[in-house]
Symmetry: C2
Subunit: 524 residues, 2 copies
C-alpha cells in the first residue's frame, strides 16, 4: 500500500511490553546467499513489452573486469531473477593514478522500465524517495564499495558520472548478498501436470520468499512494511510452503503489542528504529488481526498463542460492532476508512460489512476454543448482521449486493459477500456465476482483490472458473515477464498505478503471492 | 593545481622502503575541534560581490531544531569561517511516523557562489567530482548522520528532496569536526602597527592551517594533494608560524621514497590508499625538492635528514642539467613540461632556466655542508648557466629577459631571473623597477606567481614596492571576502579560472598562504 490517502489519526498507543518482548524473541535469523549478475543487458524500446521497454541480453559478465569506463559511460547488469539484498563491488582505476574523486550513479530496478525512464521525471503522489538510486563519491581507489541499504531489484545500472581526463575505472566482484527469513528447503515440490500452474506456484513462492524478512513485508521495494492485509495473505501462502510459524506468531505479537487506548490494532507497523504503530487505522485490516490469528491457530494448533492473543482478537470484533447503525449495518464513511481495493470509485460499505460477518464466523470458533463467553454474543451479532445484509444490501432484482447510499454494484461487494457466506450455499454460487457473466463496471484493480475473487469462486464450488481466472490473471503477469508477482496488474491497462506512475509500483508484492496457497490448499 | 593539461609519463617507480617507512613514522596526529554553525544565511544576487553573489545573515541557529522542513524546502548554514573537517547532524521526523525514506541533498561550499549556482551546470575541463555535494537516503528516522568524507567549506546547504505527504523533518546538533596537523598555539603573535598586514598575516595562517593535514595539501577542497610547488611555499610559511618541522620532513621523505628509475621525483604524490607518485613530472617542481630540502635544513639544522636526502636532492639538479642545450640553456619544450604559472601564453624557458640557477646556488651550499664533491661541478654549471642566461636570454635593448624562440617578454621571466640573481645586484633591482614601470602584457595569474613577484622585490631591495603589492593583492582578496586565501585571484578578472569555471576553483590554497612568510621573514 502507499503512504498517503490515509487518515493520520491522533491515537494514544498503550504498549504491551510482554508482547513486544515476545515478538523480539521471535526475530528471525536471515538466510544469506551470494548471487552474481548473470549478464550484461540493454533495455530497448519495445511496444509489445510491459511499459514499452524490454531487457535484452548483450553478453556474459566474464569480460566485465577487463572493460574500462570513463565519464558518461554506463552499463546494465541483469541478476537473472528478482533479488532482495545488499550490493557490493570493487572499483579500480585504469590509467594514471586517480587525481579526482570518482562519481558514480547506481540505479536499481525490478523492471526494465526502471533502467530506461529517468527517475527525475517521476511526479506521482507518493514519495520519490522509494525510487532506488544512489550517487556515490569515491575518494580513494581501488575500493570495495559495500552499499549499506537493502535493495529489491533484478537490474543494476552503473553510470560513471565523473572520473577525470587522466583515469578510467573498471568494476569487478559485483555481488548481491540476498536475505530472507524463508527456508526454501522446507517447501514441498508441487507435483502438478499443468505447467502453467506449476510456474505460477513457483513464482508465487519466490514472491513470498523475497517478502519474508524480519517481518512479513508488503513489498521489499515499497513499503518494506508490515501491513495486516498483506500479512494475512502471506501467512496463508506460508502455511502451504515455508511453514515458518514463528514469523507469523512474531507479527501477531507485534500488532498486539502496540494497540491504541481503545485496544484497536493499527493497519501497519514500523519496526525500526523501534516498533511504532502507524497512525493509519482501517476497518477491514483491524478485523484481519482476528482472522489471521484464526488461520494461524488452524495451521499451527498453538493454543498458548491463541489464548494470549485472543483478547486482542476479540477486541477488534467488538470495536467493529460499534460501527453498526440502527439496522445492524456497518456505517459508510466519507474518509479512507477501509481498504478493500485500490479503486477510486469503489464504495466500501458492503465489502466491509461482509468482512465483519466473515470475521464473526471465525471469532465465534476461536471464542469457543478458548472458552470465552463472547461466543454467544458474537453469534447473535452474526445473525443480526447477516440479516441486515440480506435486508439492506441484497438487491433481488439486480441479483447483486449493493453498497452505500448510491447502491453501487461492484465486484468487490459480491466477492466479499460470497466469502462471508451471506447467502445460502446454492445462491452463493449463483451470485458468483452471475458476477462472472454480467461483469459490473466497478471492477478489480489489484492482485489482492483478484485473490479474493478466486477464493470466492473456490468456496462457492466454481473450481473451473477459479482455476481459469487464476491462470489467466497470474499467467498474464508471467507472460508479461514477471519474475515475482506485482503489486498492481490490470490486463486492460498495464501501465496502471494508483500512485501516479508505474515507476513507483512494487513488482514483488506480498498480496500477489497467494496462488501457491490457492493451488495447494484447494488442490487446484 | 588541476589534474589534466599534464603529461602522463610512463615512469617506472623504484620505491625506497626506508624513506617510505620514515615518512610513515612521521605521520601526524590531527588536532580536532568541534565547530557549530554560527547562523542561518541566504545567498543573494549582488553585482558588487565576488562572482555576483553575497551571503547575508538571516538569524542565529538557536531556533533551527524547532523548524521543520518538507519536500522542496532548504536552508543554508554559515559556519562563520573556513572549515576543513567532517560534518554530522541529527535528523528527526515531525508528524506521522516516516512512511517513506528521507532524501536529502547537501551542498558544501567555500564561497557563496557554490550555494547559488547549480553544480549540474558546471562544464569545466577538470572533474566535476570535486564539487562538494552528497545525495543521501535515510531509511530509518531519527538518525545521526556522520558523513564519512572530509569537506572544505564555510557554507552548508541542506535541501530536503523528498519526505512523504505524512511527515516532515527537523535538524539538530549540526557539527563540523575540524582537522589539522597545525598547532595554533605554536604561532607567535604578530606585533604590527599596520592593521591590513596583520589581517593578511592572520588569514595566511588560517589558510596554511587548513592545508596542513596528513601532508601539506595544495588545497583541502581540491586537489587535497601533496604538490612540490605548494609544499615549498607552505614549508616557508610554516617555519615562521606553526614550526611543524616533522611534517616538512615527512613530505620530503615521501617524495624521496618514490623516485622513478632515473631518480627523478614526481611533481606530486597520492598518499592513499598507499603512496603513489603521480605520472606528472615538471622541470621546476623536481628542482624544488632540492630548494625545499635547503630551506628545511636552514630552518631546522637537521643534519641527519640533510645527509639522508642529499643524494635525491643532488639527483634533481643533475637531471635538470641534462636538459641543457649546447649553449648551456634549458631547452624549451612543446609539452606541459614546467609549471611556473597558470598562463596559457606563457613561455617557460627563461623562468625554468632561472629556477635551475636558483637551485644550483642552494645545491652548492648543501653539497659543501655534506662534503659532497659535486659542489665544484655544480659551481662550474652555475657559472655556465648564468653566462648562458646573460648571453642568450638577456635583451639589453628591451632591458628584459626573453623566453623561447618567440623571445617572449613576461613578468614571470623577469621575476625568476631576479630571484636567481642572474644579473649583478644593482641591475637586478633595476630589472624589477623596470618590470613594475613597463608592465609587460604576459602577466601573473596566480597568488603563487604574485608571491614570487613580492619576494623578488624584497630580495632586490624594493621593500616598499613589495609591501605595496602584497597589501594591494592579498588585501584585495580580503576586501572581496576571503576567509582563507584563494587559489586564483585576478583583480582585473575576478571570475578567472584556468579550469573553465570558478565553481571548481579552490578558495583555500596553499600557495596563497605566503604573506605570513613574507611579512615575518622579511620583517615587513
Amino acid at each position: 500500500m502507499g503512504e498517503a490517502k490515509m487518515q493520520a489519526v491522533q491515537a494514544v498507543i498503550v504498549p504491551v511490553e510482554a508482547f513486544i518482548n515476545e515478538a523480539e524473541r521471535l526475530k528471525p535469523e536471515l538466510f544469506k546467499q551470494q548471487v552474481l549478475p548473470e549478464r550484461l543487458a540493454e533495455v530497448v524500446r519495445d511496444e509489445e513489452a510491459i511499459h514499452g521497454w524490454a531487457a535484452r541480453a548483450i553478453t556474459g559478465t566474464e569480460s566485465l573486469p577487463e572493460q574500462d569506463f570513463g565519464t558518461g559511460d554506463s552499463f546494465i547488469l541483469d541478476f537473472g531473477d528478482h533479488r532482495v539484498g545488499y550490493v557490493s563491488f570493487c572499483v579500480r582505476p585504469v590509467g594514471s593514478p586517480p587525481d579526482a574523486p570518482l562519481k558514480l550513479k547506481l540505479t536499481l530496478g525490478e523492471m526494465p522500465v526502471e533502467m530506461a525512464e529517468p527517475f527525475a521525471e517521476y511526479e506521482g503522489w507518493i514519495s520519490s524517495s522509494w525510487l532506488q538510486e544512489e550517487t556515490l563519491f569515491v575518494d580513494v581507489l581501488p575500493r570495495r564499495i559495500e552499499l549499506p541499504r537493502r535493495y529489491s531489484f533484478r537490474y543494476l545500472k552503473i553510470e560513471v558520472l565523473a572520473t577525470s581526463a587522466k583515469y578510467r575505472v573498471a568494476f569487478e566482484d559485483i555481488i548481491c548478498t540476498t536475505v530472507t527469513s524463508a527456508d526454501a528447503s522446507a517447501v514441498q515440490p508441487l507435483g502438478h501436470s499443468d505447467e502453467t500452474l506449476k510456474e505460477i506456484d513457483r513464482v508465487s513462492i519466490r514472491t513470498l520468499e523475497d517478502c519474508m524478512q524480519d517481518v512479513f513485508e508488503d513489498g521489499p521495494k515499497r513499503d518494506r512494511r508490515l501491513w495486516l492485509g498483506d500479512l494475512r495473505l502471506e501467512a496463508l501462502a506460508n502455511y502451504e510452503t515455508f511453514r515458518n510459524m514463528e514469523l507469523v506468531k512474531r507479527c501477531l505479537y507485534l500488532f498486539a503489542g502496540v494497540p491504541d487506548e481503545q485496544g484497536r490494532v493499527s493497519a501497519n507497523l514500523f519496526i525500526e528504529p523501534a516498533i511504532i504503530a502507524d497512525d493509519t487505522y482501517l476497518f477491514d485490516y483491524s478485523l484481519f488481526f482476528t482472522t489471521t490469528l484464526f488461520d494461524y491457530y488452524m495451521a499451527s494448533g498453538d493454543e498458548d498463542t491463541l489464548k494470549e492473543l485472543w483478547p486482542t482478537a476479540r477486541k477488534q470484533v467488538e470495536l467493529a460492532l460499534e460501527q453498526l447503525d440502527d439496522q445492524g449495518l456497518v456505517q459508510d464513511q466519507e474518509t479512507w476508512w477501509s481498504f478493500i481495493d485500490w479503486h477510486p470509485q469503489l464504495n466500501k460499505q458492503a465489502s466491509s460489512h461482509a468482512i465483519l460477518i466473515y470475521t464473526l464466523k471465525k471469532a465465534i470458533q476461536l471464542a469457543e476454543q478458548v472458552g470465552c463467553d463472547s461466543s454467544s454474543a458474537f453469534s447473535t451479532e452474526l445473525t443480526k448482521t447477516t440479516q441486515a445484509a440480506v435486508d439492506s444490501l441484497w438487491d433481488a432484482d439486480a441479483g447483486f449486493f449493493v453498497s452505500g447510499a448510491g447502491r453501487q454494484i461492484s465486484w468487490a461487494s459480491q466477492i466479499w459477500c460470497a466469502l462471508a457466506g451471506v447467502l445460502p450455499e446454492e445462491q452463493n454460487k449463483q451470485l458468483m456465476l452471475h458476477l462472472l457473466s454480467s461483469r459490473p463496471d466497478i471492477g478489480l484493480t489489484t492482485p489482492y482483490m483478484h485473490h479474493h475473487l478466486v477464493e470466492a469462486l473456490l468456496v462457492t464450488g466454481c473450481r473451473e472458473e477459479a482455476a481459469a481466472h487464476l491462470k489467466s490473471y497470474w499467467g498474464g503477469m508471467l507472460a508479461d515477464g514477471a519474475d515475482t508477482f506485482w503489486e498492481l496488474y490490470d490486463p486492460a491497462d498495464k501501465n496502471f498505478s494508483p500512485y501516479g506512475s508505474y515507476l513507483i509500483n512494487s513488482y514483488c508484492h506480498a498480496w500477489s503471492c497467494t496462488p501457491a496457497y490457492l493451488i495447494r490448499h484447494y488442490g487446484l
